[in-house]
Symmetry: C2
Subunit: 421 residues, 2 copies
């Protein structure tokens, strides 16, 4: 019997099944490592995601000691005494009261066995794949991560692409285009595995040979939604499935909302493609904003309810309008500030100086007949000398032609072709 009320060897065996490469687990002298891992599994079973009291206890006192207090049924007074001014005795007792109904070793072992059965691995803080970006989750980091697939994806640049389940054809098209474009730029596409936008983003990333991570609200042994079982299984094989909920957990509405904070924390930027006014995708965007991460939203027709949430966020918050994968990369990783020439675009709508004069001279030229310099000057409202200069430049650019009759015409007009032939 070690630190816990059940046999250490049984716990060690169960943990090795979900951390086969953890050599420290074989070291029977290193009781602290085993205790830490067990404690984190215990917490993942005891609490609902986002529990701030648990977050505070683990941060300040470590995972082990408070877990023992819960499991042993001891008073919380000793814990509260160590965090004066941070955690009230009443608040702690209320937390203990909500955690204790779940403090059953049978459930804790079942979570570990379920994970082993579905091929999930356990990732904890300190592991090389634990996302540094979770530092942004100051008061409610997950106690652990369950992972199926290639955990090394957690160390690559990644973009969250999320949106409505009730996506339109437009939204699904855009999700495919953006996710494929991001995959082509070597960004990992992170999403929630849901119907609609999420599913399209995952599929497009896989289809274009890119990498994708699906963060689920329930346990990794319950692939939800069931219509995405094949897709999520493929992501487990070719990408990565993640959850902070233990195997056996149902995906509840609360867990979906908390799952969204993980998506926002994992990704370098979050892009929402379609979202109704009350879409959960907006909660992901809200979490990202709260962490100071860049948020982009794709606009759509204002007549489409599926874009109303995107428009609202674009107007109400410090967010960026997204029209392409290149926009997303700039949003997440910046650029040299110089847009390609074809994106500047307004030049021709603000003519000044030379180009303005040239526009006016070309305006003045008639399609069917040649014009003399004096007549052009009057039509344009410039002096004959100015007009001669402009005609000279335009002739060099092959935009006007001087005919054999001494009159000017636009180049390429039928009359000028005739006069040239």
């Amino acid at each position: 019997m070690g630190l816990w009320t059940i046999d250490d060897d049984r716990l060690r065996a169960a943990l090795l099944a979900v951390r086969p490469d953890d050599t420290a687990l074989h070291d029977e002298e290193d009781a602290g490592h085993l205790a830490e891992l067990v404690a984190r599994v215990v917490w993942s079973v005891l609490i609902e995601p986002g529990d701030r009291v648990a977050g505070l206890l683990i941060e300040r006192l470590g995972a082990v000691e408070p877990a023992r207090v819960v499991l042993d049924g001891a008073s919380g007074a000793v814990l509260a005494a160590r965090l004066p001014g941070e955690l009230g005795a009443d608040e702690l007792e209320a937390a203990l009261a909500r955690w204790r109904p779940r403090a059953r070793w049978a459930d804790i072992l079942r979570a570990l066995e379920g994970a082993a059965r579905c091929g999930a691995h356990l990732i904890v803080p300190g592991d090389p794949t634990w996302p540094e970006s979770f530092l942004a989750l100051t008061d409610s980091p997950p106690a652990l991560l369950w992972a199926r697939g290639d955990a090394s994806l957690l160390r690559r640049p990644s973009i969250a692409v999320v949106g409505a389940r009730a996506a339109t054809g437009y939204g699904e098209h855009v999700a495919m285009e953006l996710a494929a474009g991001l995959a082509a730029r070597d960004a990992v596409v992170v999403s929630g595995g849901a119907y609609g936008i999420d599913g399209m983003a995952h599929r497009a990333a896989l289809a274009s040979g890119g990498a994708t991570i699906a963060v689920l609200a329930g346990g990794l042994d319950r692939l939800y939604p069931s219509g995405h079982e094949a897709l999520l299984t493929r992501i487990a094989e070719q990408g990565l499935l993640l959850s902070e909920a233990p195997c056996g957990s149902a995906p509840t509405k609360w867990r979906f909302l908390q799952r969204n904070r993980l998506i926002a924390a994992l990704a370098d930027a979050t892009v929402v493609i379609e979202a109704g006014r009350r879409s959960g995708a907006l909660s992901t965007a809200g979490h990202a904003l709260g962490m100071g991460r860049p948020v982009g939203l794709v606009p759509g027709p204002i007549t489409s309810a599926a874009s109303a949430g995107c428009h609202h966020f674009l107007r109400a918050f410090e967010t960026t309008l997204i029209t392409s994968a290149a926009d997303v990369m700039r949003l997440a990783y910046g650029d040299d500030g110089v847009l390609p020439l074809d994106e500047a675009g307004e030049e021709s709508t603000r003519p000044t100086g030379q180009s303005a004069l040239h526009t006016r001279v070309l305006d003045a030229l008639r399609p069917r007949r040649g014009m003399g310099v004096e007549e052009i000057a009057r039509a344009v409202g410039e002096s004959p000398a100015t007009i001669r200069g402009a005609l000279g430049s335009l002739e060099l650019d092959e935009r006007v032609q001087l005919g054999h009759d001494g009159l000017w015409r636009r180049a390429g007009s039928r009359a000028s072709e005739r006069s040239a032939s």
Copy 2:
């Protein structure tokens, strides 16, 4: 013979035809008023819209004296000498050289006669209907305005609604909705009379009994485009047609671009509904931004080239995303900062405190069977006491029901209906 080289009585008669209510014109002693009006008509014939040298001369020396120098063929030295440091002699000579080919009395009288023939009135600075908002056109105000219709509309709050000629069905639909909504809120809809968005905006304003102003690039005797002759005639009858170009002027590309500055200056805010990357509607938005006026743009599908310019402006400049006429009114006239409740919308995506707990309890309840408090507490991860409190609140809100069997169910579920009956 008065100030001008042709007969004052002939000029007075021509001017009375376009200013029938101008009693000062009858006063033969008031030569200054007549001279001022003539000079402004002269300028409108001499210059292209937006001529900065003319704007400077008129602002600093008045309209009359510089007009005489042009018409008399005198040297510009005397004018340049009066504006040292502001206007170089070379620049002035260049301007005189471009104006003089047009300085023909026949053309000036023809402009006045053309205006009278098509029922246009002449509006000049100092008239009660001269738009104060033209003060924003610091270096190139129009010398005058030609107007057909109800000039009193110039004193009402107004919104520019502009956009692409090559509008999509979506854009035209939005133009109709927005313009009708603005008309219903007593805003005058200002636009450019073009095909596509402009035409739809005018039509919707008229159809909903509202007021509309079309600002044209050419003379008011040439209703352009010809396919809008009926619409523009109706605007002259029920709204207002405006132009700074004299009758007889063709609508050239240059004049279209300069016309856009008048639309932007007239309106309290400018809204672009659809605009390709190089749409002229963006020049209107650019002018409005330059004057510090609010600019709104309607987003659309990112797959639609007709919305690309709107998206570009939304991203690149201090502009506002517009989804409704109410948005436009807020943009132009502000509000108390409180959005209606159904526009806040995110509440449900960010559950905290009570409502979060209630969500989790409702999540936990099964559709087909009742649950005891202990079971709910375990499922939710809260203490039984907390769950009892939440169930009490939810029962008051008629969202859960306690059955005869002592188990809780969601209210309205079939099981609860059965147990209640």
